[in-house]
Symmetry: C2
Subunit: 216 residues, 2 copies
Amino acid sequence: MSLARVHNFSISLDGFGTGEGQTIDAPFGHACHRLMEWAIATRTFRDMGMHGDTPATRGVDDAFASNWAPGIGVEIMGRNKFGPQRGPWENEDWTGWWGDNPPFHTPVVVLTHHPRPPFELEGGNAFHFVGADPVSALAQARAMAGDLDVRIGGGVQTVRQFLAADLIDHMHVVVAPIVLGRGERLWDGLEGLEDRFEIEATPSPSRVTHLTFTRR
Amino acid sequence: MSLARVHNFSISLDGFGTGEGQTIDAPFGHACHRLMEWAIATRTFRDMGMHGDTPATRGVDDAFASNWAPGIGVEIMGRNKFGPQRGPWENEDWTGWWGDNPPFHTPVVVLTHHPRPPFELEGGNAFHFVGADPVSALAQARAMAGDLDVRIGGGVQTVRQFLAADLIDHMHVVVAPIVLGRGERLWDGLEGLEDRFEIEATPSPSRVTHLTFTRR
């Protein structure tokens, strides 16, 4: 069965999955890189092209991070993960934050109400723009994924919408020990989520806490 | 040095320290007992008079819970922890949720703008009603506490005010794996709190996560 999975999705103690004020230089707004510090230190993220001053870690953070890719046939992402633009596309120059060879290596479905033709980058990264509700978007993604799973890649609104529609089978959330104060909250509108998931918490020496949500 | 300490303060994944709709039968509103389930199972809380169907635990939850009383000379609590009433006191019948012999066994300072004479219950539980800002209230509490520490006992607004005023030296927060959706949020207005505290996370087999905040 093809599952819908969330991986490496970081939030602050106060539940913000991104800060305020996204720009082309600050994908996470005022949160800067603070939500992803734990990830940037791992071998998995270094292999994706992230840079760091310290040796790549292979501890518990990497153990979780490395589950990101295996078994995934398609990623679904929201438009705010894809880029900082809002509203109709002014042109088609923007191809994401990830350069010529993004780390996905699968088709990517970008949710947007503003039509745009698909394009393909190196490494099997084919971007499709879809203006659909979560149920339809997941059906389209599954058709592309074959027997493989679909990753719900974020950002916050996208994960929240798929949770609200009860479409997520597995979710890995990482709580960073920071209080962001503002931005977009993951948990809004999800009262009683614990009724649908078995939740396990694992701390890391890096001071983040890994939460896994497994559908009951 | 007399410290200001917070212990056993439970919040939901989405950061609510209490639910919506406090009444005399539901001190935590729609959260009911869900935020405190981990605590009610411990030997420490059973010794305070809490009842449960299962044997009292002496694991990591109890290890944290038991730090609640030692070294404390006074508790400061907000009026919403003391009772469900709002506005001027209609009478002086209400003496808290805790019966004739509350578990504090120290003086208790209740923060309220509505004057009320002090009273004393069994076991050294002397309640004083103080209409002061956090700095003055803490000074008054310390005068009563001698060399001992002051516990900031809650509720949410009280802890948040003392954190905002940078008066807390040690804080133990327990994150329960539930999404409450509504109520009072602990972290509001505390952006950057991590700059002032060393934060450590410890998971428990009960599925809560204990967070300790130690002033840097």
